[in-house]
């Protein structure tokens, strides 16, 4: 596919997903094609309802596309039948979701979450090796395994839970990580820490990461490539430098214009208050 002959890690070819039927049909994702190379970080940016999460679910094979195909490492994965084959796919593609509070079973400690993820890969892993893998995974995201492994979800902060979710996803050693709004529910002060964990994994292991976000400042901070979606369509895509300097589509320009910036001219209430 690509010019240099190396096949892309992920290729979505004309993905369409329709919800509902007849007059009430909603084209959540409408003819979207995109490719990602190994080791790349890309972001899909769009407002709520733009279809970005639907597209992520299609790529994760949690949702069947109405039309189009997903190619992973050159292989068509759209028609994987049976749980066993999809499970095999999930050992290559993992995800971190928005809500670190909803992603846990509150009755089980962190150890249980990680152990069930390891079963995805190899259910016959010896106990000692299992423990070691879990410890390494937690250390990679900056958590202390000795204290965290036996804690229950409610004993962890939102940022810590999200790190556990990243540890869980990365422990399986996936090729592609899909991060669907990973920091939306995280506090601004620890947001940078979570993103740095992901950026380090990309640098050290060439982990390919696809961010799904509505926050264009976050997307420009982390990505090599931006995909801008509006009403289910991909309206603009390109290297982050190009898109930020010379946005081509009106919607992209609107997104940049609407985002509150810290520098530049302030948008103060004219005539109001303390001068």
């Amino acid at each position: 596919m690509s010019a240099n002959g190396q096949s892309p890690l992920l290729r979505c070819a004309a993905i369409t997903r329709v919800f509902g039927q007849g007059a009430r049909a909603v084209r959540a994702v409408d003819d979207v094609s995109l490719t990602m190379q190994r080791g790349e970080i890309a972001s899909i940016v769009g407002e709520s309802g733009s279809g970005k999460s639907t597209l992520a679910r299609v790529v994760l094979r949690l949702l069947q596309p109405s039309a189009g195909a997903v190619y992973f490492d050159g292989r068509d994965v759209t028609r994987l039948r049976g749980f066993a084959r999809r499970r095999e796919y999930w050992s290559h593609v993992q995800a971190v979701f928005q809500d670190p509070f909803g992603s846990f079973n509150q009755f089980y400690p962190v150890r249980y979450v990680l152990r069930s993820a390891l079963r995805l890969e190899d259910s016959a892993l010896p106990r000692r090796e299992r423990e070691a893998r879990m410890a390494v995974a937690l250390e990679n995201v900056g958590l202390d395994p000795a204290s965290v492994l036996d804690q229950l979800p409610h004993e962890l902060s939102g940022g810590q839970r999200q790190r556990v979710m990243i540890a869980r996803a990365v422990m399986v050693q996936p090729d592609l990580l899909i991060a669907d709004e990973p920091t939306t529910m995280i506090d601004a002060s620890s947001r940078a820490n979570i993103l740095n964990v992901l950026l380090d994994l990309n640098r050290d292991r060439r982990l390919t990461i696809l961010f799904i976000t509505h926050d264009i400042s976050l997307a420009t901070y982390v990505s090599d490539t931006l995909f801008i979606m509006q009403h289910g369509k991909l309206v603009e895509s390109g290297p982050v430098e190009r898109v930020t300097r010379t946005p081509e589509h009106d919607y992209t320009r609107q997104l940049f214009a609407d985002t509150f910036s810290l520098h530049g001219e302030a948008w103060h209430a004219a005539g109001g208050g303390a001068a």
């Binding site: 947001r191 509505h214 509150f260 810290l262 209430a269 208050g273 303390a274």
Partner: protein, 341 residues
């Protein structure tokens, strides 16, 4: 500058178990000028939402107001919430624009009936048509079709619900609007529209002034004249927004600023460091300065006694030992602060 709201030494604790208290707001004093937007920022768990509840006088058990006074237009406003007593000041003198718009509407009522109920509880003789006309007009300003009045909450998206809640909370033209993270569930476009509505209500003098609670510093930079930074239930820095953001005095504000993602072409590949560690347990807050366990400038004095107030410039103050030592106290205000318990 006329002072619209003056609050002194607010203390509000959450009751836990039989004898525990979570000191979510512990000795906060603030003043608000007419026509001003005052920003309140800080990380989760610093007590900023609790402060919003106390200011809007909607605190209820297990949140107990333990002390402090509040005056709006020179008149005293009761601080504790609950259903007992006179609630007529709520919505007219102070009004809360709550954070969780998802849970603030009655799921069994159409929006129009809810709007009417809110107004009727303040004035039993209010005309239904008049109420709905006013609601319709405000909704249109937020780019919402008037038909949302006929909808049930579950038929609205999260962003629409947030805007409906914004309209309802300003319908009685409160003197002071307390907005608690009003924009966190909204897209950037909708954020702009909501903030523009708040600014417009302020300019038309429909609302006296606004306390805007948020952790998004870029928003404060764009709309707030003054900003307060809270940490662990206490204020650590207050001043004009420009100064607090671009020339922060307090080590915590500095760290918070460094952790903020900003949209700039130069941002890419510039590593931003977040804040390590979490906020302290407020049932047993650390002694001295509450930030000292995470502070990179911590001195010996920081863990032992409450830091003094330092005034880096007029109208700007910070509470910190390190600052007090770095800049020898030039004004009387600094020694006044040190004398406080």
């Amino acid at each position: 500058m006329p002072e619209l709201l003056v609050a002194k030494d607010l203390r509000a604790y959450y009751r836990t178990g039989l004898s525990g208290w979570i000191r979510a707001v512990d000795g906060v004093s603030l003043s608000l000028n007419e026509g001003e937007i005052l920003g309140v920022a800080g990380e989760s768990g610093c007590g900023k939402s609790t402060l919003a509840m106390v200011l809007a006088s909607v605190a209820r058990w297990p949140l107990c107001v333990q002390g402090g006074t509040m005056h709006v237009d020179g008149r005293s406003v009761p601080l504790s919430g609950g259903l007992k007593g006179d609630g007529s000041h709520r919505g007219t003198v102070v009004s809360l624009m709550p954070q969780g718009a998802m849970n603030s509407l009655n799921p069994t009522q159409r929006v129009r009936d809810f709007v009417f109920d809110v107004l009727r509880s303040h004035d039993p003789h209010v005309a239904r048509a008049e109420t709905l006309d006013r609601a319709r007009e405000r909704l249109e300003k937020l780019h919402l079709p008037a038909r949302v009045l006929d909808a049930y909450p579950h038929q609205l998206s999260g962003g629409m619900k947030q805007r409906v809640v914004a309209v309802i909370s300003t319908l009685l033209d409160p003197r002071v609007l307390i907005a608690d993270e009003p924009t966190s569930a909204l897209d950037v476009g909708a954020q702009r529209a909501l903030l523009a509505l708040m600014v417009e209500l302020l300019e038309q003098r429909i609302i006296g002034s606004i306390v805007l609670v948020t952790h998004e510093l870029p928003i404060l930079r764009n709309v707030a004249q003054r900003t307060m930074i809270m940490y662990a239930g206490q204020l650590c820095e207050t001043g004009p927004t420009e100064e607090v953001i671009f020339a922060p005095a307090h080590p915590y504000t500095k760290a918070l600023m460094q952790a903020t993602l900003v949209l700039e072409s130069a941002t890419k590949r510039q590593r931003i460091e977040g804040l390590e560690g979490g906020p302290p347990d407020l049932s047993q807050p650390p002694g001295g300065c509450r930030f000292h366990p995470r502070c990179r400038y911590a001195l010996e004095a920081c863990s032992q006694s409450v830091p003094p107030t330092v005034v880096p410039s007029a109208g700007h103050d910070a509470v910190c030992w390190w600052l007090a030592q770095a800049t020898p106290p030039p004004t009387a205000a600094a020694s006044d602060g040190a004398a406080e318990p």
